[in-house]
């Protein structure tokens, strides 16, 4: 292709206090091209995109759009230049309608007066174009995360952008919704849109991208066409070494006694959930976005409790009405949305790791006594290989992987029996992923159990000893280790009744 690149960034550098985020990075994207950027967290992907989106100003380097030099000082200018960004974190207004959200910042107005009818019509048309059956008049807060993601996409399309930046657009989506999205991307490519695609999901990247660029430590490693970049190459370039043993090997011995048994668990989002978790076992839970797998996690940790059925821990019936009760019973929770539900961002790494211990001990406990002592928790954090210059630093400054490890330390310190992981590696780079999988395996091998709920099917297949599949609030079946993605999808779509049903072991 010899077309003029619709986007060309050359020699982009950006430094933050103490960190060289980008160092002379070149990047270009042709019209009708999907160009993926891969790299570990901290490699500089987001910074590069924030510069493109006008949120940051580069220290050095130039940006050309269709050959013309541009300089952005506010996201608005980038938007006006035809750059649309779909952000990793949803930026919607929950109390406003879908139409209001799609037109946020770009309302159709004449002399400052909104033309609501026109906006509704165009919103409906846009939603139609991406195949989303969403009423433009619906409140965003009434939509599922997946539908909200589609609203985000509609928002970006509104611009008729020539350049579309998608930063982990499938992070919140399940397999089916992800496929819809990838089809959409394909369609946009056909319309001549340049798409910058950022994702940690390798299969997705190799399926959709025309070219792939690898960033590491703020520098570009290489840019290659898709065919010249097999996954193993990509991973090696990102991590700087081979990652052959990505998933830990399965346990040598069979699972032990039943740790927790749920019988007939029911609430507004769940029906008749019956399963158990044995000592030494990692149980995966798969399902589409609205299958109830999130509700299952919330019920297990007492956040949105079961209203019917029984939960027994080591044979004893227990109540799980609040997260505190679940914690006391030995069930720990690693939420999918780390920033909103997992971390106190302005507190230190150490404080976050100690949060549960401190919460469950008596209120008059001395803060430095026994397991609460800084030295003890620091040792645990080091053992988990949480990388921070100092465990007294605010956890908000750490990478996602290190944050996730700190939360794991929180529950290890509490000596929980069962850990409920939701999307344990969402937005986490590959090296940290491997470490987290390893920790999960070791945790289970020590005679404890894990329930891992994930939308990342290769992950479930790789880590779980068996996978429960949910469909419309029910368990539609279970598959043993070694099952294929197709088997799981079949159950998740409700197409088969318990093909691989098995009784607990």
């Amino acid at each position: 292709m010899t077309a003029v690149p619709s986007l060309s960034m050359t020699g982009i550098s950006k430094a933050f206090p103490g960190v060289r985020a980008l160092d002379g990075v070149d990047f270009e994207c042709l019209p009708g091209e999907v160009h993926a950027i891969c790299g570990e967290n901290g490699a500089g992907k987001s910074t590069l995109m924030k510069i493109l989106g006008g949120s940051y100003r580069p220290d050095a380097g130039t940006i050309h759009l269709a050959g013309k030099t541009v300089q952005f000082t506010h996201p608005r200018q980038a938007a006006e230049a035809g750059i649309a960004t779909i952000h990793q974190e949803l930026s919607l207004l929950p109390h406003r309608t879908v139409a209001d959200n799609i037109f946020m910042g770009r309302e159709i107005a004449r002399h400052g007066i909104l033309d609501k009818a026109a906006m509704r019509e165009r919103a409906a048309a846009l939603l139609d174009r991406i195949g989303a059956q969403i009423d433009p008049q619906a409140l965003v807060s009434s939509l599922s995360i997946a539908l909200q993601q589609l609203v985000e996409i509609a928002k970006a399309l509104l611009l008729d952008a020539r350049i579309l930046v998608m930063d982990e657009p499938t992070a919140a989506l399940d397999e089916r919704d992800s496929r819809t999205l990838l089809n959409l991307v394909d369609g946009l490519r056909g319309e001549g849109v340049s798409i910058v695609y950022i994702s940690h999901r390798m299969p997705e990247v190799t399926a959709i991208a025309d070219r792939i660029t690898i960033l590491k430590d703020g520098q570009k490693i290489w840019t290659r066409p898709r065919d010249a970049a097999p996954i193993s190459e990509i991973v090696r370039a990102m991590v700087g070494r081979d990652l052959k043993d990505f998933y830990p090997s399965p346990p040598a011995s069979a699972p032990g006694e039943v740790l927790v048994a749920i019988t007939g668990g029911t609430n507004s989002g769940l029906q008749d959930i019956t399963f158990d978790v044995r000592a030494g076992e990692i149980v995966g839970v798969a399902g589409l976005e609205d299958s109830g797998k999130g509700a299952l996690a919330q019920a297990l940790v007492g956040d949105v409790p079961f209203t019917g059925g029984t939960v027994a821990l080591r044979g004893r019936s227990i109540d799980l009405r609040t997260p505190r009760q679940a914690t006391a019973a030995g069930i720990g929770y690693l939420p999918g949305d780390r920033k909103r539900e997992g971390l106190a961002l302005r507190q230190s790494v150490r404080d976050n790791a100690l949060l549960t211990l401190r919460s469950m001990t008596g209120i008059f406990t001395r803060p430095q006594r026994g397991a609460l002592a800084s030295a003890v928790i620091d040792e645990r954090l080091r053992a988990m290989d949480v990388r921070a210059a100092n465990f007294g630093q605010e956890i908000g400054t750490l990478s996602g992987g290190n944050q996730q490890k700190a939360i794991i330390v929180r529950w290890l310190a509490q000596a929980s029996d069962i850990l409920v992981f939701v999307e344990p590696t969402r937005g986490i780079d590959i090296a940290a992923k491997a470490a987290i999988y390893d920790t999960m395996r070791r945790f289970a091998d020590a005679g404890r159990g894990i329930v891992v709920i994930s939308s990342d099917m290769p992950e479930l297949i790789g880590i779980a000893d068996r996978v429960l599949v949910m469909h419309q609030g029910r368990l539609s079946g279970a598959v043993p280790r070694g099952a294929s993605e197709e088997d799981i999808m079949h159950l998740a779509l409700g197409l088969a009744e318990a093909r691989h049903e098995e009784s607990g072991a």
Binding site: V19, A21, D303, R340, L345, D351, R366, P367, Q393
Partner: protein, 327 residues
Amino acid sequence: MTTVPQTSLSLRRPERLALNAGLVIFVALYAAIAFLQPNYLELGLFMNFLRRAAPLVILACGQLYVILTGGFDLSMGAVATLVVLAASILINGDPDTTWAVIGALYAMGIAVGLVNGLVVTFLKVPSIITTLGTMLLVNGLALAWSGGAARGDLPDNFRNLGRLVWRDVPVIGTLPLAAVVLAGFVALVWFGLNGTVYGKRALAVGDNPRAAELAGTPVAATRILAFVVSAVSAVTAGILIGGFSGVSVNAGEGLELQAIAACVIGGAQLLGGRGSIWSAVFGALSLFALFTLLNLLGLPQALRDSIQGLILIAAVGASTWRIRRRT
């Protein structure tokens, strides 16, 4: 972004700065006072300064608990007023009942704190509205009970708490009882935040209540306790105010905003997650030193408000700027 060792240094600094900000402002203001009026360097006058600042410092400490957990307590001033009026009515001139009445006052304070905490946590009414409501309610109750004016005098044993000054104390010369109460109270609230796990729970709850809840923190109890501590500190301050100057219907007027301002000047962050007991202590001392300085300067009364406003904005602006600079 890769973490480079330097960042950790710059990240650790704010903690120390938060402590120092209030202290620095206080030392600067007190130095200015001493420059204008050198005898303020005498221990006796410093003790007297502490005696008078004691109620505000105590209120700020209580307010800090609530601020750490992410809320506000606007009802403190009303509680202090209630305490003064209720004490005069209940003691009714009989010094023998003083200690029993003080117990009853704390019970009332705890009741107000519980109401605040329960309404905020279970009825989900934002604390600024809840405590505005209880402020009106408690103030109204106090006035209705007393009929709108002081109903009796306080006996000397009650007054002594805020008024008594021991003279000829070895080493320090004079020692006001209020300063002892202050030291004791600060030690207690310091212990609450630093000597038990409560302080860290409160910070986590103020920072991210949802995350804290999912990590097993008793969020409601943590919040409620903060309001109770705040109310208890308002009772203590009320007792000192009543002791210092006697009964009046406006004993606590406006103290809640001063307490919030004090915490903020000392470096605590509104809406939670940042601050230490020293933010409250030195913030309050700074604010009180400012009042004293403005008195000494003999500026027109009205302008003192203006200057207080400017200082408030400047102090918060400076700490905002510090936080911004490192992110």
